[in-house]
Amino acid sequence: MRLGLSYLIQQFLNILQLGSLYALIAIGYTMVYGVLSLINFAHGDVFMLGAFIFFLAALWLKLPFIPALIVTVCVTVCVGVLIERLAYRPLRNAPKMSAVITALGVGVFLENFTLALSPYPQHIPEIVKNRAWVMGQVTVSSIQTIIIAISVTLMVILDFLVRKTRFGMALRAISWDISAVPLMGIPVNRIISQTFALGAALGGAAGVMYSLAYPVIDPYMGIMIGWKAFISAVVGGIGNVRGAMTGGFILGTVEIAVTMFLPSTYRDIVAFTLLFVLLIFRPHGIFGTARSVKL
């Protein structure tokens, strides 16, 4: 039976895998938007860089999976912090349009920088032995398990950081009213750097895990995935971290549900149409609220 229980469980696992990748990337968009009201269009390319650095770490340095993941995250963190420092900070007080154009420019730069070094798509060697466990009619692969386990762990840690630590409070305070934050004695620039670092860490980790599941990587892979993650963040309510996670899983669910019933070429058109309809009814996204200020 096509829609049997085991089939649904299988699809549910696929949703978790795809959704958690979108969610990890969406968090980077939403956190930066939260602190700077800037859509960091280069973020999808940081995800792409994650995949390429992982490729180099595995192929040249011959690192096993976990060390390669750590090296990748360290490098993408540096890239994320540098992007903010060199490209966005000088424009902090410039019109928003200039910053958005700069973000697009940084993205184009990263894509072409990678293209110059790697003109052809690269095939990621098998770093993690992909074993499959068959339980009845459900197949669970080791890669799928790794992706879901690491993503969920990272999201739980991030949620804790945002909700329970002073850094998280500062982050939420900045997204409410950046002008008052320095008056609390908080070094705003340091918090913004740390925000970019965290976003880039998650984006880089997502790049690594994506290239485990889909082992052919190219310099433009971050564009479409980046858009999808960005839309996930908007659907969840941009600026809200839990919203970004939810949005990622919603997009994953819709995409997989579409391919269950329709040819896979319909996936994006149907998925995006549904999400836009959702935004008509909840223009601030699921977790977003229209902001009001009391004087």
Binding site: M169, R172, W176, S179, A180, P182, L183, G185, I186, K294
Partner: protein, 238 residues
Amino acid sequence: MNKQIILSVKDLSVSYGNINAVNGITFDVTEGQIVTLIGANGAGKTTLLRAVSGLIPYEGTVSFSGINLKGKTPHEIISGGITHVPEGRAIFGTLTVMENLELSAWVVKDKGIYRERLRHIFSLFPKLEERKKQLSGTLSGGEQQMLAIGRAIMTGGSLMLLDEPSMGLSPLLVKEIFKVILDINKSGKTILLVEQNANMALHIANYGYVLETGKIVFHGSKEVLSGNPKIREAYLGV
């Protein structure tokens, strides 16, 4: 009385494009006093405070306890001992009352001092303790002002800048807030109070400056200012 000057502002000017918001202001704040800057909307009061706490660039010099503040970041100035309760309170609405206070303790490293200040804040404003788990965006205007002052107490420092604490509050609440300001001053903090409500401000202040379109036009002790017929007419409404 041989008190130290804690804040000294000389020839301070701030311009936004071609407009001079503050035009060569010089004044001093004596340690332990309440000094008030009174003036109408647009006189440059807020701009002046923002310059002192390093939020905007300016010409001239500002020195605090003998240290030149020019070029220092707000973070350095605040951890150096100046707190600033901004206009319109600027509480963080998506954070709880407690989180607001915890955040303002960023420069407080000692847990003991943190707990002691928290007790002090809750003894001044018992309402804040009742509502400590509430989102601060749901507080009334008066409670938000209490929270804003509470945050400044938590951050610490010896000089508190207060920007229009009476704004938008009922006369009764204004009285309550001003009583607390007097208490804070008695506990040893110097206060620089910027107000449109000149009556209340002169009532608690030791010394006052009158600001008009970016310039100081009068200054003197509370008695001198309250006795000046021009000021009585223009600012005190008598």
